[in-house]
Structure formats: C-alpha cells, structure tokens
C-alpha cells in the first residue's frame, strides 16, 4: 500500500518537473565569447556598425499579441509593434507625411499614385512590388485587419486600383477628403506569396505570418511573459535602423528597472518629476495634454439639461483645477471648453472659459432637486475624479451617486445610453488634426464608432455644429481646415454639448547619452510607439 502512495507522490513531482523543463533545451549562450565572437559572426557585425546602439530596451510584460496585422491586440502598443515589422506606404514625422515604402506620391481628384522605392524586399528575401500592394488592398477588403484604416464592406474607401508598373500604383478612392492620404498611407503591406494561400487570417499564427515588410523583424515573442525581440532587417532600403535589436523586457517596477539600466526609457510618475528634471543626463519626451477626461450628460434621460444655463451651472460647480492638482499631481491642465487642449496647434484662444464659481452654480442648479447617478470606470484616477465632481455638484445642491464599474462595463453602458452623467477618459487628445471632433460633435457621425471615447452627447443635436464638424473633413487646404476647427471649438465652448474636465500630460524619461532619437510625430505623441523613434535620422 505505502509503496503505491509513495510512487504516486513521486510521479506528481516528476510531472511537475517535466512540465517545468518542457523537454527542451534552454542553453542559449554564445559558444565563444569576447573578441572571437565578433570575428565569427563577421557579416552580422559589419551591418551593425551603422547602428547607433546595439540594443534598445523598453518595458514589456504585457502580452500585446503577435506583431502581425491579424493577430496583434487592438491597442496602441500592440499596433506599434506590428508596425515595426510591417511597413505602410507613408510615415509621419514631426511636420508631415514622409516616404516609407513609397518614395513619392501624388494625387488628383480621387486618384492617388504611389511610387515605391527600388530594391524593396520582404523579410524572407522576396521582392516587394506593387503586385503586393494591390493584393493587400483586395485581401483587406475581404478580411479586415485589426488596425484598419480602409473601412469595411460598404464603407471600404477604395474604389479600384491600377498597377502602372512594378513600382507605381494608382489607387482610386470613392470620395477623397482631408484624411484620405493619411488613410491610404498607413495600411501595412502583406507579402502576397504568403497570404494568397491563407483562407483564415484570424487564426493563421504560424511563423510565416511574421514575415513583414518593415525595418525590423520580429525575432522573439513570448506571450506569457510579454517579451518581444525585434532585430534590424538588413534588406531595408529607406534609411538606417538606429538599433540592432529592440527588446521589450518584462519588468517588475518600471522605474526601478530604469534606474538599474535594465530599460532605456520609462514613464515618469508625477511625484518624482523634480528629481529627474534636475538631472542633466535625463532626457524627456513630453506628451502634453494627451490624456483627457470629459463628462457626458445623457440628454435623453435628463432633458432639463438642454437648458444651457444648467450646463453653465455644472461648469461653475466643478473645481477642475483640483483634478489637475490632486489627481494628476500637477501634470496637466484644466480642460478647454472647446475640447481641443491648449497645447494643440489647433487650439482657439477665444473659446469661452468657465471658472469655478460655487455661488453661481448654486443659483443655477440649487432648489431644482436633481438626483443623478454619475458613471465612471473603476480605475483609481476615474474614481478620484468622480469624487471631486460629486463634491462640486453636491455643494451646488444636486444629489449625486457615484457608480463605478470596470471599464468594459462602463463602455457598455455609455454605448447603450444607460447613464445620467458619465465620466470618460481616453488618450489621443493631443493628436493632430483633431479628427475626433467629428465623431464627437457631428450628428451624422456621432454613433459611427463604438468607443465611448468618441461617443457624442446623447439627445443633443446642433445643425451648425454638424456642418462644421463634417465640413472640415472635406477641406483639403490645411489653413482653412484649421480655421474651421477653431470655429467649431468656439461653438462647442458656447453651446456646451459636453463638459470637458481636465487634460493630463505625461513624460517619458531616457538617458540622453545612450540614445537620443525619441520623437513625436505631428499626429501622435507616444514616442515609444513611433517607428521613426527607432531610425537614424
């Protein structure tokens, strides 16, 4: 009897050990070390000399999916990793569109022509031609990728294309507007020779799906630990990669890892700002006002608030500066009533400003006996903001119950209109142009997106606002478009379709003497997610 028990115990231990070792070798150290190694891998070394640094290490730890167009997670970091491996026709720098796979481009009416660089190849060595671009368009029409700028089904923006030669392709869109070039420039190109045989791209996860067209190859990915390794692709023709390898390493504490030199760039907590600001070795990337919080009023449930004096009263009731001071720890600004944050190129200084004025608020809101629920997500910041809003509104004579649910639950309620007041926070407020203004304030586009971040106010409509929000998209002249945005902001600040609470800025810190190439594009502030941050420029 006891033998059997002992044996079973032994078996369990063996099972655990065998599971653990996974029956595969983990030895990966180079066979030889030191100078000998560089001699042995001669060709690889020669290519490396052009790089600024050998490795760039970033904080990983989260699984953002395989960096492939159909497999990455639909969030900024997942998309950015995919875009390192897969290239699109154009890229953006600080001021405008720049060549990426396409060396030059031109457009006239609905026709957009792109001419590719010569000598382009995929990471498996096969040449990349306009044939692949055309294939990708057809393939994306049939199977929309995770990050999709081309639209789905009826709203697919491309009408047709014609291949001029191996290097030039003309794409005809259904209706050209201000965003068309950006949309056509940013879809990633798939290798035809691999994907033409793939029937179900959403489950195609063999190594082939990582053969990309970009400047870096994905040479290591482990989902469970959230680690990624990208290696510079020697066949890339448009410029030089800045690093031989980019690593996303899981870290327990980002800042601790940065201090220990385990990673090269980290986000900085507000409370340690002074410490790093005075350090000359530390460089900063500021993401000004990029995160923003707004409060939606559900006019379908609370039609009383269609009276503008009540909305002015809500603004007067809120101590929005205390959100910046206490929740953002000073890193941010009080939101502009015109929605576009102050630091944006498109900001209109003339927007109406609403000050914290408890007396005024009491006059407008008091004795009306409003009882509302305030929906927020359950993040620490979301709840703190909700508490500040609640305190302000209650002081003005309203009854407020805060309801905090997890973000999926919050989104569901906002999308379905199941709320009175709702606080929604999201990133990307610093993007230029502020194309989010259209889905927020146009009656026509309000429900196009399914994200509460760009969900417009329910039960509110305004023709003038709609005309401006839709009109800017058609305007291809930059200065005129900017003017239209400013006009829209002014109108929004006067009419108050929603309450803008506050914007939060964030900083990334890095060691200047090691690598200084981190950049923001004119449209996107996340340096860690921009491809040009990893190129010699």
């Amino acid at each position: 009897m006891k033998k059997r028990e002992l044996i079973s115990l032994f078996l369990i231990i063996c099972l655990a050990l065998s599971l653990l070792s996974g029956c595969q070798s983990h030895v990966n150290a180079p066979a030889v070390t030191g100078e000998e190694a560089s001699g042995e891998t001669g060709s690889g070394r020669a290519a490396e000399t052009a790089r600024l640094v050998d490795t760039l290490k970033l904080a990983g730890g989260t699984d953002w999916g395989m960096p492939s167009p159909y497999l990455h997670v639909a969030r900024g970091p997942g998309q950015a990793k995919m875009r390192l491996v897969f290239a699109s026709l154009l890229e953006k720098d600080e001021t405008g569109d720049v060549p990426w796979l396409a060396e030059s481009w031109s457009f006239e009416g609905n026709d957009y022509s792109f001419t590719l660089f010569e000598g382009l190849s995929f990471q498996d060595g096969e040449p990349l031609t306009t044939e692949d671009v055309a294939f990708t368009i057809d393939y994306f029409r049939q199977y929309p990728p995770v990050t999709n700028t081309l639209g789905v089904g009826e709203s697919f923006i491309i009408e047709s294309y014609s291949i001029v030669d191996d290097y030039t392709i003309t794409i005809t869109v259904k209706e050209a507007d201000a965003d068309t070039l950006s949309n056509l420039g940013s879809f990633v190109i798939l290798p035809k020779h691999i994907w033409e045989n793939v029937e179900d791209p959403y489950t195609y996860n063999v190594p082939d799906c990582l053969v990309g067209s970009g400047a870096y190859m994905c040479t290591g990915y482990e989902g469970a630990t959230g680690s990624y390794e990208f290696t510079a692709f020697d066949g890339w023709v448009n410029g030089q990669q800045a690093a031989q390898r980019i690593l996303f390493v899981p870290v327990s504490d980002e800042l601790l890892a940065f201090e220990n030199g385990e990673i090269d760039i980290a986000s900085m907590p507000a409370d340690l700002k002074d410490k790093y600001m005075n350090d000359p070795e530390i460089g900063f990337v500021e993401k000004a006002d990029d995160m923003g919080y707004k409060m939606l009023i559900n006019f379908e449930k609370l039609p009383e608030f269609l009276d503008i004096s009540l909305r002015q009263g809500v603004y007067a009731a809120l101590d929005r500066q205390s959100i910046v001071d206490n929740v953002f720890r000073g890193m941010g600004s009080v939101g502009s009533a015109g929605y576009v944050p102050e630091s944006s190129l498109f900001y209109n200084e003339d927007v109406v400003k609403y000050d914290y004025d408890p007396e005024l608020a009491k006059e407008a809101l008091g004795d009306k006996g409003f009882e509302i629920s305030l929906l927020t997500d359950d993040s620490a910041d979301g709840i703190s903001i909700a508490e500040i809003v609640k305190n302000g509104l209650e002081a003005a004579g309203m009854e407020v119950t805060v309801m905090a649910v997890d973000s999926a639950g919050r989104d569901d309620r906002v999308n379905k209109g199941d709320y009175d007041f709702a606080i929604v926070g999201n990133g990307g407020w610093g993007n230029n142009p502020p194309s989010y203004m259209r889905t927020l304030f146009s009656d026509k586009s309000k429900y196009l997106s399914t994200s509460p971040a760009s969900m417009g106010p329910r039960g509110y409509s305004n023709e003038e606002m709609t005309a401006l929000a839709e009109g800017q998209l058609k305007e291809t002249d930059f200065e005129k478009r900017k003017e239209m945005f400013k006009e829209l902001e002014l109108l929004v600040s006067e009419e108050i379709p929603l309450i803008v609470l506050a914007n939060q800025s964030s900083y990334s810190i890095y060691r200047q003497d090691y690598y200084d190439g981190w950049m923001k594009t004119y449209a996107y502030q996340q340096a860690e997610q921009n491809r040009l941050s990893y190129m010699v420029r």
Partner: protein
C-alpha cells in the same frame, strides 16, 4: 472563559480605536487633507497616500467596511446553512439528497475563479460581494448542521416529542436549538473572519466595490504605485492596512477557537 474575555476585550479595543478614528479623528477618509505621501506626523498619524488622503482615517473606515461585509456574509451563511442543514437532516429523503448534492457542489467548485467571474458579472458593489462570498460560505455550515440534526433526530426525546405531534418549528425551538445554535454561531463567526480575508483578496484583484475604502483596495493601489520599491512610502501606506487585516483576522480566529473549545468542554 478567561481567554474568551481577553480576546473579546482586545477586539473591543480595536473596534473602539477605529470607531474613534471614524467619529472624532479630524481628518477625512474621502477628501485630501494634506500633501501627497506625507510621512506620519502628529497631524496625520499614519501619513497620507498618493492623493493626500489621511491613511488612519481610511483604515478606520475600512475596518467597519470589512467588518460589516464579514458580519453580513456570516448572517447570510448562518441563515442559508442553518435552514438547509436542519431541513436536510430532519426531513431526509429527497430533500436530503438535493441538499447534499448542493453542499458537495459548492464544496467542490474552485472558488476563486468563480468568484472572479461572478464579481465581474454582477458588478462591483458591496452587496454583490456579500452575496458571492456567502454563496461559498454556507456549505460547510450546512454540512455540520445536517450531520448534527441527523444524530439528534434519532435521539430518544425527539422521537418521543415527534410522536406527540410536535411541529418542526416547535421541535427546533425547544429541543434542537440548544444543540444546534452554538454550532451555528461559532461556524458563522469563523465565516466572518474568512469573509474579511476573501473580500480583501477580491479587492486586491480589483473586483470589489471600488468606491469603498477597503483594505484590499488600499493594498492594491499601493503595490501598483510606480517606484514604490525605492521609496519608503510603503512603510506607512502598505503596512497599516496589511497589519490591520492580519490583526483583525487573527483576533476573530482566536475568538472562534476559544469559543469552540469552551463549548466542547461544556458538552
């Protein structure tokens, strides 16, 4: 008996301390009353958290939050476990088979995964947390009560009383409650302690009421704070909720133990 008094006294002291913290301590548990992450001082006994909210005030409020969740859960488990246990043990037959199945079902489910899913599903209010924890606490109580009732049912005086036509409620009140009530009460007290721990575990995973100043939530916030390892913030931000949690759970546990052995001796 002396031990029971001692432990109860310690618990009372804890309750008084925290009651004082809620009622008379001048700092607010909801609003910032100082700078961010101030070290303990005469003004802020245990310092402040990242939002500048006083920690002692939060701990005090958290105590009553935890305690009320624990007691409410215990009450629910007491009622469900008691009723089902007595019913199964007394009635036997089909009722017994069904209740036994339910007991075994709830005893065999992996609790934490189902709590995570249920917590996300039912929403994160305190009431839901109570329901979820109670759902997983009644089974052991019911099991004990059922066994006890069964053995009582066979005892001579109950058989006799039943033959005189005594109703179930009468039988329970006059003959069974003396034996079953202490058992129920002690098990429920044990549930209180366990519920406090489970609530804080769920809160740590972000699945409890996010508005309540619960200890688990404080712990979660602190451990998620960037750069916490190379500052000494954790000594006043993390340790107080951890120690309070440990202290109150242990005191409750000790009390349960002491009562248990007291009751056994009396038997």
């Amino acid at each position: 008996m002396k031990r029971i008094c001692l432990i109860a006294l310690a618990l009372m002291l804890l309750v008084l301390l925290f009651a004082w913290g809620v009622l008379f301590y001048p700092m607010d548990a909801e609003l910032p009353s100082g700078g961010s992450l101030e070290a303990p001082s005469a003004e802020h006994w245990l310092g402040t958290d990242n939002l500048g909210i006083d920690i002692f005030a939060q701990i005090s409020k958290g105590f009553f939050h935890s305690l009320s969740i624990g007691l409410a859960t215990a009450l629910a488990a007491f009622l469900i476990g008691g009723v089902l246990g007595v019913a199964a043990g007394y009635a036997g037959g089909k009722t017994d088979v069904l209740v036994e199945f339910l007991i075994n079902l709830f005893l065999s489910v992996p609790q934490l995964p189902i709590m995570i899913v249920a917590g996300a599903f039912f929403g994160q209010s305190s009431l839901n947390i109570i329901c979820i924890i109670a759902a997983f606490s009644w089974a052991p109580i019911a099991k004990q009560v059922r066994a006890r009732t069964m053995s009582l049912r066979r005892s001579g005086y109950l058989v006799l009383a039943r033959s005189y036509g005594g109703g179930l409620w009468y039988l329970f009140k006059t003959h069974m409650s003396r034996d079953i009530m202490p058992l129920l009460a002690i098990s429920s007290l044990a549930v209180t302690g366990r519920a406090i721990v489970q609530e804080s575990s769920l809160a740590f995973l972000g699945l409890s009421d996010p508005l309540a100043k619960s200890w688990g939530l404080m712990i979660a916030r602190c451990t998620a704070f960037k750069g916490i390892y190379f500052t000494n913030f954790w000594t006043w931000w993390l340790l107080p909720p951890v120690l309070s949690l440990v202290l109150s759970t242990l005191l409750l546990r000790l009390l349960t133990r002491a009562l248990e052995s007291y009751w056994l001796e009396k038997e």
